[in-house]
Each structure stands twice: as C-alpha cells, then as structure tokens.
Amino acid sequence: MKQSTKKLVLLSLLAAVALVLSYIESVLPPLYPAIPGIKMGLANIIILVCLYIFTVKEALILSLVRIFVSALLFGNAMSVIYSLAGAILSLAVMAILKKTNWFSAVGVSVSGAVFHNLGQVLIAIAVLENIQIGYYMIILCATGTTAGILTGIVGGLLTKYLNKAIKGR
C-alpha cells in the first residue's frame, strides 16, 4: 500500500476510536458529580498515540476532528470552546515535552492532562469574569495527574504495539 494511503487509513481509524472513547465517556455518569470537571480523558490515549506514531501536526488534526465531530454528534456547541482550549494547550505542552525527551509517555500524558484542565479553567475564568473559580485547579491537578498516569500507561503500551504492527519495528 502507498505510504500516504496507509497513513490516511491509520489516522481515520485513530479518529474513529477517539470518537468512540469520547462518546463512551459522555454517556457514563461523571466520576464525582459533586465537583465538576473530573474526567478520565480517555480520548487523550489516542491523541498521545498519534503524537508518538506520527507528529504534532497529525495529532492536532486528529484532536480538532474529534472535538468538532463529537460536538456535532453528541455534544453541545457551548463545550467546543472549552474543549478547544484544553486540547490545544495540552497538545502544545505534550509536543514540547516529547521533543525534550525528558519523560516517558506517562510524564508527557500527565503534563498534558494538567494543562488540559488548566486551559479549561482559564477559559471559565475569562468567560465568567471570576478569578475565584481558579481554586478548582487544586483539585483538578490531583485528579488530572491520576488520570494522566493511567492514560499515559495505556497510550505508551498501545504506541509500542502499534509501532510494531505498522512499521515492523
């Protein structure tokens, strides 16, 4: 198969899996409804895998496709701006940290999760014109780190096996 066709197929598959994960997460009850914003971030597994298999460019496209299609299919338009802020900030940080080679996929994923939360809290502060709600970040740092460790482990393993399957190495 031509290299570009292979890549297109793979990216489409990753996008489909990310969408399914987003959907599953949106229909599951929130992990802890008493404090909003606590999530597993399952779709980030796929973004992480994409960042490792391809480059930040493909990961960004995948991320944007996931956000817009999931907003269209099962979300509301309101949440798009929050998702975008979180996703772009998180991906930027993950791409930079991956490049430095300081951390494994787990460290990269943890940073991504924390900055995803930070992006969303910053947008909420801006939209609501209220700085007080920044205190959510204390709680979201703890839960985001935990979620980031788990998605990082899964994403790291997936990258390893997918790389073997795709490139034979």
């Binding site: 494994s104 460290g107 609501l128 209220n130 007080q132 204390i138 740092c141 703890a142 780190t145």
Partner: protein, 112 residues
C-alpha cells in the same frame, strides 16, 4: 528508559507536592461563610445571607436556575441547561467556594 521513568516519578512527585501545599494553604484559610453572592455575566446581582433559609429563582431571557439556601449552605436545586453540572455540585458554605453554571454564566460565590 530508566532515566525517563525516574523523571516521570520526579514530575509526578513535584506536581503532588505543589498541589498539596496549595490545598493546605487554600483550604486551611477557608472559614465558614456568611453570604452567598450571585454573580451573573461577571456582575454581582444579589447577596443573600446564609443564615436565612430561602429559595430564589435566578432568571434571564435564556436561563433559569434556582438557588436554595438551607442550614447555612447554598446549592442549586434546578437548572434548565442540559448538563446539570451546577445541580450536581455539592452544597457550598466555606468562603471562596463557588458553584458555577457555565451555560447561564452564573457564579454563586460564598463570601464572609
């Protein structure tokens, strides 16, 4: 790989320590609140004492939320937005605690 995992551990430990320090300082400084400030679109529109039990609807042309003050705690009992995040939020009573309804651009903030 070993070095990377060691760095991961350092990163996670640093985040954990910073979070715990912030949490201790922030939640340590919290006191029992006296008033619930209702902030809509960044402007304070009403203040209610937490000592009086009451049920107040907060409406604008697009959204309705119902604020309930009961036994010194404030919570949102009803919202017409789809996500119900504010309704599920636990009751707040300490200074600085907030309940946020993003679709209605509503913040209920506890003050002294």
């Amino acid at each position: 790989m070993k070095r990377l995992i060691r760095n991961d551990a350092i990163l996670i430990a640093v985040i954990a320590v910073v979070t715990v320090v912030f949490a201790l300082v922030y939640f340590g400084m919290q006191k029992d609140g006296g008033n619930a400030h209702v902030i809509k679109n960044g402007k304070e529109i009403a203040v209610y004492s937490l000592n009086e039990n009451m049920t107040v609807p907060i409406t604008d042309e697009n959204n309705t939320n119902v604020l309930v003050i009961e036994n010194g705690k404030a919570y949102i009992s009803y919202a017409d937005c789809p996500d119900k995040i504010c309704v599920n939020h636990r009751p707040v009573s300490k200074t600085g605690e907030t309940i946020v309804c993003l679709p209605a651009k509503l913040v209920v903030e506890i003050g002294e």
